[in-house]
Amino acid sequence: MSMRQTFAGDLAVLPTHAFGTRSLTWWGVIAYMLIEGGGFALAAGAYFFLMSQETVWPPSSHPPDLLPGVLFTLIILLSEIPNTLLKKAAESEQRRRVLLLIVLLDLFGLALLVIRGFEFAHINVRWSDNAYGSIVWALLLLHTIHILTDWAESVVLTALMFTRHGTEPRRFVDVSEDALYWRFVWITWLPIFALLYLAPRFV
């Protein structure tokens, strides 16, 4: 450098991993939540816009059957219990607990994906019937892609945790952020559930 430099401190004493806002990837995860959350908010906006164009909603069919939707919602809410435990276990770097809970959550995810299949089967409208059909399929599909990609990522992370790479402390940060993202998956589900299942019945 052309400027005179003076040594002002040493970085060697700093740790090499940290949780929450101290982790770089945490910010990446939050940024993606903003992006996807924004996308959901706009899709919800589109739902309301299209609804305002109709006098009857749904215009020509029954709302989606309540049972699969309610079942999905209950189970995903339930999954927050092992999810919170997983996050805590990761942040206290307890490997065995983490392995147990992450597998449990993968199984929850699988069950939810199966139920999601039933939700599609009981949506009671085709995407091409009318704009109502298009937007409800879009909302459900968007959330499905959301939960599917997160589940796939969790499965890969699970596999990774079982290898010797899983002994590296940084992996615990990955698990903690994965658990954080799972919260986002069910938090975004709640308003979508309301739009798909409750709004047509009460509006």
Partner: protein, 642 residues
Amino acid sequence: MTATEHPADVPRDGPELDGPELDRILSETWGDKPGLIGWLTTVDHKRVGKRYIFTAIGFLLLGGILALIMRLQLARPDSGLITADRYNQIFTMHGSTMMFLFAVPVMEAFGVYLVPLMVGTRAISFPRLNAFSYWLYLCGGIMLWVAFLRDVGPDIGWFAYTPLSGPEFSPGKRADFWAQLITFTEVAALAVAVEIVATILKQRAPGMRLDRIPLFVWGMLVTAFMVIFSMPAVTLASSFLLSDRLVGTQFYNATEGGSALLWQHLFWFFGHPEVYIIFLPGLGFVSAIVETFCKRPVFAYPIMVAALVTTGLLAFGLWVHHMFATGLPRLGYAFYTAASMSIALPSGVQIFCWIATMWDSRPRMEVPMWWVVGFIITFVIGGLTGVMVASVPLDLELHDTYFIVAHFHYTLIGGAVFPLLGAITYWFPKITGRMMGDRLGKVAFGFVFAGFHLTFMPMHFTGLLGMPRRVYTYPAGMGWSALNLTSTIGAFVMALGVVLFLANLVRSLGNGAIAGDNPWGAASLEWATTSPPRPYNFAHIPAVTSHTPLWEESLPVFSGLRVEHRELVLTTVVEALPDVRDPSPTPSIWPLLAALATTGLFIWSIFSPWALVWGAIPVGIALTLWFWPKSSPDTHQEPVIE
């Protein structure tokens, strides 16, 4: 978490490891493999940034050639030079290329190149994502242009209003190529935006508090947030369009409960912030240039930051001003008029502050400052015509006429391209190690500036005389012919200026004067290292005690990062206190392969919905292998990302 046990066990930079020996080891650690493999696997933000800039300029030239063709067609009334179909493809491609393939990418490219250097770190956050985003952008641009050259280019305007762009009135795949281009470029832009936010918030030099961040970096931060909040809208809109066209959804079909206005709301919710996404980095360029050539910090720094943030926020409240003629309630329009007018305030304040900076010093009129002067003279006109079209009664006449064409070229070229050309001249020494030619630089400026005004000033009058937009020809006897001819001549003068600028650039690559670290005597951190910077950016992580670090007595630096593995330091968000050492990802072929797999998925899905299922599999595999750690020997006591 505890501090590492044996800090002395691995080689680290510091007073004992410095100079050429340090450079040798760090270059080895942070460098790429030689040749093609290195080029394909690099995750160096400077190399990725340079290729982004290079590609974006390429698209600028392609878009510019399309503009010249349009101007040739419009030079005379009732011209038969270009057919209606070809012209409609050309104006669609001109707008789409300029907006999606040039303007946003080039601004993000400068952010990718400069932000890590300006904040004093070794790499961008998420370097592999950065590489991936470039390849995806390139593939999207190639897809669109191949479609155009094969006469299946989109012909629906860059804004693709439904139902014209829907399945009934745009048969074939033309509109789908447009809609999928959106997906390519928006995914790429969102990736870069995430990286910019993370880099600025977490990787700043120790001591670089929020009030010591360079104004360009503030501009990029606000821009990145605007990208994050606006781009999902257009991605959603274009996905709905693709699905209407491919699988028969009814989002935009009024007869089945859909709405043509849904498209407009979703598109313009993105579309308005989009122009500020293009404009704000330009303002950052101006601040950097003015600071350097006035040898003083920009006047009223906190106000400048507030102006940037206010502009970014207000930009989201204006979109309905593109829809004043659609018949929405008049009272609602009044809100959007007030909001659209109010955005003139932060811009007006910034103009004052730059001029005040010049006033309070002796500005050196080097070429970049000429571009700044050109910017002020030109952009303010565009801003003022913007105030005019914010008014509903005025807009109902002016909307969709050549007056609007004049307005947005004055703001986009004056407000973004002029600062960009100044920025290229200003940072060329840092990027290449050589200075651009001075005399040719001024001549090029003159031609571009004069040509621009000759082209676009008449369009205000063409519009007032009643010429609508997006017409491939016009009748004689309307009073438009002479004005159009003038615009055409101006366009070629401007093109000559651009050619001269590029000639200067190319010649300077080989023959320009050697620049040295800080040829302009600037204050920000990118000038604290070599020109061009070494792969590792800084030998030791710099710290700052003011927001003009290179104008202080000396530059404090921190020692202690590992040198045999890629490592940088994360600092706290507000105070920028050193916090965590983070390993930085090494080069990898997976970003390229993942981008190719994603390209396959995107293009296939134009033709079949099943692409979303089957095409996702290679993407998933590529992403998994991208993130999967390579076998690391157990001798590491500290983490690496291989």
